[in-house]
C-alpha cells in the first residue's frame, strides 16, 4: 500500500493502524481529523472534499518522504478522504511508528501540517443555515 492515499470511501482506521506495527516500534502516534459540528462560529452539518487526485498523491508522497528523511521513524501512513462526509467522520488519518516517541510525535505533526498546507484538496462546508462554501483559507 502507498504511504499516502486518497480514499473515496470511509477510512479504515483499524487496518491502517495495523500497518504501523513493527517489532522495533516502541511508539505509535496517530492523528485523526474529524468533521466538527461547527467552524468559525457557524453550525456545520457536513463537508465535501474535492482533490486533484493525481497531484495530491504525488505531493502527499513527497511529504511522507520528507518526514522519513527528517525524523527517525519506522513507518508512516496518511490517507485523506474525498467526497461527502457526515459529522464525526474521519477526514484525514496520519499514523507514524518509531523507536522513540519524540520522532513519532514530530513526524506525525509534520505530515499533517504539510498535508493541510500543500496537498491540493479543498473543503466545502455545508451549514445548518445558508449556502455551502468552498474554503480557501490563505486567500482571506
Amino acid at each position: 500500500m502507498e504511504a499516502f492515499g486518497i480514499s473515496a470511501t470511509p477510512i479504515a482506521v483499524d487496518a491502517l493502524r495495523r500497518e504501523l506495527e513493527s517489532a522495533g516500534a516502541g511508539a505509535v502516534v496517530c492523528f485523526e481529523g474529524r468533521v466538527r459540528d461547527h467552524n468559525d462560529g457557524r453550525a456545520v452539518d457536513g463537508l465535501t472534499y474535492q482533490a486533484y487526485v493525481e497531484l495530491a498523491k504525488a505531493e502527499g508522497a513527497c511529504i511522507v518522504a520528507e518526514a522519513r528523511a527528517r525524523f527517525s521513524v519506522e513507518r508512516i501512513v496518511c490517507v485523506h478522504r474525498v467526497g461527502d462526509l457526515a459529522l464525526g467522520e474521519v477526514a484525514v488519518w496520519t499514523g507514524v511508528s518509531a523507536g522513540h516517541r519524540g520522532a513519532a510525535f514530530d513526524a506525525c505533526r509534520y505530515v499533517i501540517d504539510e498535508v493541510k498546507a500543500r496537498v491540493p484538496i479543498w473543503k466545502r462546508e455545508h451549514y445548518v443555515e445558508g449556502a455551502p462554501e468552498w474554503l480557501h483559507p490563505a486567500a482571506r
Partner: protein, 79 residues
C-alpha cells in the same frame, strides 16, 4: 495552441465546469490565466493561486506546449 484545463473548488463553480478544452494564443501560464480569468470572471490573482502543468507544480513563467494539461489551484483546505 490547444490546452486542457481542470477546475477545482470555487474555480470550478465560477467556470461552471470541471474541465474544458481551450484554444488560445497564450503560450505561457501567466498569459493563459489572464485570458481565462477574464472570460470566467475569476477573482483570484496569480499571487493567490498555484499552478500545475501535466500533473506537476510549476511557476507562472512556464512555457506551454500544445495539448498541455493546465490547472490553476486555489488555496487548499484539506484536513
Amino acid at each position: 495552441m490547444n490546452y486542457k484545463l481542470l477546475y477545482f473548488a470555487s474555480l470550478c463553480d465560477a467556470a461552471g465546469c470541471s474541465e474544458e478544452a481551450v484554444s488560445s494564443a497564450a503560450c505561457d501560464v501567466r498569459s493563459l490565466y489572464a485570458e481565462i480569468a477574464a472570460r470566467h470572471g475569476f477573482s483570484f490573482t496569480p499571487e493567490h493561486l498555484r499552478v500545475a502543468v501535466n500533473g506537476a507544480f510549476t511557476d507562472w513563467e512556464q512555457r506551454l506546449a500544445n495539448n498541455d494539461e493546465v490547472v490553476f489551484l486555489p488555496p487548499v483546505s484539506g484536513g
